[in-house]
Symmetry: C2
Subunit: 741 residues, 2 copies
């Protein structure tokens, strides 16, 4: 990756610009193109004042096409430190950290230095938090701040370069690499890379096994199905454990509890927290639950709309490829694909709009829960678009092909203009043979072709467009110069900064990075593996290769094609975990069904639905599912037995805190004793001690209780009395035995 | 319950004896009947010394037939207090209590008085804990202490009487009653009553609904099935929540973590706890897991053995009742019952033996996990014996009756001696009609008759035998007196104590109370409700009545028929929770199957297996199960939204502890600020502050960073510059627009 340098914009030599960010924390991109001069100025003044009011230093520079860039950094080191310490203490109050921060602020900060992610997070909060929580309350693109188009941090290109070099030079990320990512881009993104990493590692097994079984067992092998299912379970359970473990190691476990309020949240009434005494805004969870139920109709509608579109295109495709013999066939075959590529995005955007509307309606309190709800809805859409086509082929086309195909004439009109005679437009009423390879072809398409296409769209295309756009911009600027002497934005840049400012202006143009899309990609991929890989065991191999590139690609994307993301924290991969579980469970059903239907000639019982035993199919699925659930339980139990560094760390901290407290309170010696649970060897009891207890006095007077306990004075008495009893009993026994003689 | 008094042994007037326990904590029953005099004495001496060594006062009295009763109590109040405080601190160290105990021991004890349960528990531990942990290491019936037959606390008859009076006089136990039970008999037993209580309350609904649907819908109604299934889910989920809640309220949450080591536990090696530095004995969890897998063959064998027995008796019964027309039929019908009642207990005891052997093999570290493992095995046995007969009728006899019955001749030999001719011994080869009421009759038997029988066996029979036994003992004693003047054990009782001692001797004869058997009963009962109640909707009504009595009966049992139980702690009903979940899940399957098979004429599709659609059956079960799982998820989510007093309490304590700590460390004012997360309104930034940050100096020299941040001195500069930019841009825009004109 020596040519990495060349990747960076080389219009002007940015050598120096890449070395320093001039201590800038954030850049506020203020665009006043649409607003009038007076208003724009007023707004601008308000903005700068707001920033200064919360202790942020500002420098103003000119931006591209009628925008101003406000460079922000926290003014005094003292202020930053206070912020950091406060947030740490608060973490601890909310139970995120088990160990209390050092009582001395300075001491704490020196013992636990401030990471870049921490600093950037806090500064961002300072800018965006509502005023009553002590922030500047600047919410980009909304409310009063419509003209603030973005608040973004500047890339640390030195680091990025080194980072990508390093990534591309090694196969696996180790813990150090991950925590480095965490310290730069925050836990949320670090979690993505951690997940991608363990997923990649886990893939090696099904890749190897898949390859073997592809050679030895062929497709639809029950053995492969079982092993693959087992693998899915183990992977999901492992990740669950790994996740919490990382959260603990990174000191963010339970951080989701103190996520940031959504400004859009509408409360019904204000109640006082019985515990902290703080005022909390309340919205009835049951109302929310009721609204959440709207997801059901939403899912149904989505399934119906997308389903019918997919089904139609599917039908047309079948008709053209397998019925229509007329001219242009080779071109017409692509007709459905064209329809899909045109109609699908439109539909999806509409449905996504609905989804977000719905999520707003559910009115969540925190950004996290809001995101999670949105994700779950998006997942439904993805599920339909990604898997439905294969479902159709596997469970409709193959078994029922011979019934359906004859009725596909309805689609004949799509090709009518090209047909030479009617015959070409009528499906054969009988003797039609379904295409056995269709299913396999489809799976290969989704697991190889689609992945590659996706990668190109995701990484390469944006890069090219970006380059083009910048060239275009430069040319335009020059033309403007020549045409009328109006100064280009660069006109009054200080020479020392100009390179830097060009870089910043470029970064201002970039889009924001959204980690959820990358997550979605991986989860959907996992879905193919667990649901359909039995059709084509090589699936995992393709994924293994793809993900090696994917990981580096995403790194490149973050480094070059998006603004530097705000380093948010997170304690898990959130809702995606449920998605994983759901998919691996679903896999136990589909895989079983596929094996039952296609095992053997890989074509289903000669492709006719009648020869399929419905009860056999159901029974297979039923069993496979319950085995899956059973195994899951077992694996979970087994994993829970294993102690992990994270959990150990946590236990240790807990214990330390308590021990500490104990020592403060009842002194070292006592603490040890209490902790070890040792018991002072009880003092010998003599009648005297008892007397002290009861107040001395002859056994004559005093309460019956006292007399009872003073009958035998000390253990010697008791022993003597007991001896007596035993002896007596013994003699008595002897006596009786004598008599019996 | 005025006649309660009469329930107590009225041989001698124990009026006084019932009022006081002479401050006795425990009675050690030392029996030397078998051992020789010398050895017996030596052992006895050792025993008394061991007790005294750990600070326990002893009094010795004569016991029945060659036994000595050693009365034990903690010698000095100081010693007790130390024990209590130590255990509380330890609880806290292990995370059982969130709030730290008062730093001053006295203060703590006064603020949180010692409950009777707590005292008794600690004294019992003092007696039984191994010596190295500071106990006397006396383990009844095992090791050196074979001759110590029991260590039991004395009943507080005053309390018992009042308690039972109270129970019988009210319908529902409230929180106060439960915590009273907890303070007397420990959390473990309190949890049983709490469970029984909520179960009873929940039963009211299915009882009412069941009664209605019995009148309106008849049996096998899908509506009833759905509602009942829903109820099961809600109940189980509710209890899960309730359980943790109670645990928190009673301050025992997570107490299972510090359960007591099993003396029998064998460790592989000793490791040092990385955290506490204590030495811990380790046994590989994987070895254990491997051994746990032995449960599978065990379950299979049990199923096979018990199953075949039940099936045989079932076959005989069917043959006799529905084929055999000969004489004595009315008596012979009971033959299978007789066989069962004879063979079953023997088989069960054998299998239970196996189970306990297996559990020992699994070599658990703590008594709790040991118990849990045993329980799960016992549950398997119960499951088979309780439910298999109904399964046979529902899923074998009814659908396949017409195929099987003709082959039942094999059982003819059971009645051969009584038959008059061969014809009576041969089953009709065709045209046999199965008995439609059998299933219902069976369910009614198990849900009504069996419950009553069980109650009699459990409570009344023991009471009678006890009474008889005591009479017999008294008579024998008198005879012995007359025959040879040997003194009865009561001979040298001090008159003041004699009544008390008689009472103690009687209590020594009693069996120990085992709460698990009572739990088992309830769980099995719940099973009938969730699995088969669709056959006879009145089930719940019968259970409702039964359980009202059951609760009081169990109280009576504890009070009169068993020794006072050691008040152990627990933080849940343990393994029974899983059993509950399993049964309600199983219910979703069986109920669906029953409805599908028998809905309509309540006899299955004219009783012939061929007319049953296998796929229909499977599909019904499949759907019902998945609806069940879905609903479960929903209910869990909904319940998790509800805040409960227990969880609130916990949060409050957590918060308090941290706040406290904070105040200790960084002072009231700072604490408030940090807690409220408020931010000091940032100080205005002027160039001066910046200069102080960077060290003052003209912008000429210094690092580029410094110069960058000093270009605009303070916010006014920035604003001015920004204004300029905006103005320029505006004019430029105007200019362009002019040109375009």
């Amino acid at each position: 990756m020596a040519s990495l340098k060349s990747l960076y914009d080389s219009k002007t030599d940015l050598g120096s610009a890449l070395h320093t960010n001039f201590d800038v924390d954030y850049v506020v991109d203020y665009r006043f193109g649409t607003t009038g001069k007076a208003e724009a100025e007023a707004q601008f003044v308000k903005l700068v004042q707001a920033l200064n009011d919360v202790g942020l230093a500002t420098e103003v520079r000119n931006g591209d096409n009628s925008s101003v860039l406000i460079f922000v950094k926290i003014a005094s080191d003292r202020h930053l430190k206070a912020e950091v310490y406060r947030s740490r203490v608060q973490d601890w109050l909310y139970g995120v950290r088990t160990a209390a921060p050092e009582k001395e602020m300075q001491q704490n900060l020196s013992s636990e230095p401030v990471t870049e992610a921490e600093r950037l997070r806090l500064v961002y909060l300072l800018i965006t938090k509502p005023r009553n929580e002590g922030g500047a309350g600047i919410t980009p693109k909304s409310g009063d701040w419509k003209s603030v188009v973005s608040v973004f941090a500047l890339h640390d290109h030195e680091f990025n370069k080194a980072w990508i070099k390093q990534l591309t030079s090694k196969y696996f990320l180790n813990a150090k690499d991950l925590s480095e990512i965490k310290d730069r881009f925050g836990e949320k993104i670090a979690f993505y890379f951690a997940f991608l990493q363990s997923y990649f590692l886990f893939l090696t097994f099904p890749a190897g096994f898949g390859f073997c079984s592809w050679i030895l067992l062929g497709q639809f092998s029950p053995i492969y199905a079982i092993i693959n299912g087992l693998w899915c379970v183990i992977f999901v359970e492992y990740w669950k454990k790994q996740e919490t473990d990382l959260a603990v190691q990174w000191g963010v476990r339970g951080v989701s509890k103190i996520q940031h309020k959504r400004p859009e949240f509408q409360h019904e009434h204000v109640a006082q927290d019985p515990i902290t005494g703080e005022e909390v805004k309340v919205y009835s969870p049951f109302k929310r639950l009721a609204r959440q139920l709207l997801q059901v109709p939403f899912a149904l509608v989505a399934a119906l709309v997308l389903g019918s579109l997919i089904a139609t295109c599917f039908g047309i495709e079948v008709f053209i490829s397998e019925v229509y013999p007329g001219p242009f066939k080779s071109y017409l075959v692509f007709l459905p694909t064209v329809i899909l590529t045109l109609a699908m995005p439109a539909l999806l955007s509409v449905l996504t709009g609905f989804a977000s509307r719905l999520t707003d309606l559910e009115n969540y309190e925190t950004t996290d829960s809001h995101e999670a709800a949105m994700v779950s809805k998006i997942f439904i859409l993805n599920f339909i678009t990604s898997y439905l086509p294969i479902f159709l082929t596997a469970f409709v086309y193959v078994p029922f092909g011979q019934i359906i195909v004859p009725h596909l004439d309805v689609f004949s009109l799509t090709v009518r203009p090209f047909a030479e005679d009617e015959k070409q437009l009528t499906a054969p009423k009988a003797g039609f043979q379904i295409n056995p390879d269709r299913l396999k072809k489809q799976v290969i398409y989704f697991t190889v072709t689609a992945q590659i296409v996706n990668f190109l769209l995701e990484l390469v295309l944006p890069y090219i467009t970006q380059r083009f756009f910048r060239k275009y911009k430069a040319v335009k600027a020059d033309r403007a110069m020549k045409k009328n002497g109006t100064a280009s934005p660069t006109a009054d840049d200080h020479p020392e900064e100009s390179a830097f400012l060009i870089r910043v202006r470029n970064e201002a143009e970039l889009v924001a990075y959204d980690v959820t899309t990358d997550f979605r990609e991986m989860i959907v991929q996992f879905g193919y593996l667990s649901l359909f890989s039995v059709v084509w065991p090589m699936t995992a191999v393709s994924f293994l290769i793809n993900n090696w590139i994917e990981l580096r690609g995403d790194a490149l994307k973050i480094a070059l094609e998006t603004q530097r993301p705000v380093p948010w924290r997170a304690d898990s991969i959130g809702p995606w975990l449920d998605a994983l579980g759901f998919l691996s469970w679903m896999g136990s059903l589909t895989t079983a069904a596929l094996v039952y239907l296609f095992n053997g000639d890989g074509l289903g019982p000669d492709g006719t639905p009648w020869s399929i035993k419905a009860w056999g199919l159901l029974l297979t699925m039923f069993l496979s599912e319950h085995i899956h659930l059973g195994v899951q339980l077992g694996v979970r139990k087994a994993l829970s037995k294993i102690d992990s560094p994270g959990l150990q760390k946590e236990r240790a901290e807990r214990w330390a805190v308590r021990k500490q407290y104990l020592e403060d309170s009842i002194g070292q010696e006592a603490a040890d004793k209490a902790a070890s649970g040792g018991i002072t060897s009880g003092e010998k009891i003599s009648s005297s001690t008892l007397e002290t207890v009861f107040g001395s006095g002859s056994s004559a007077n005093g309460t019956p209780e006292q007399r009872f306990w003073l009958r035998q004075r000390g253990q010697d008495d008791s022993i003597a009395v007991g001896r007596e009893f035993i002896a007596k009993a013994a003699t008595k026994a002897k006596g009786e035995s004598k008599k019996e003689l």
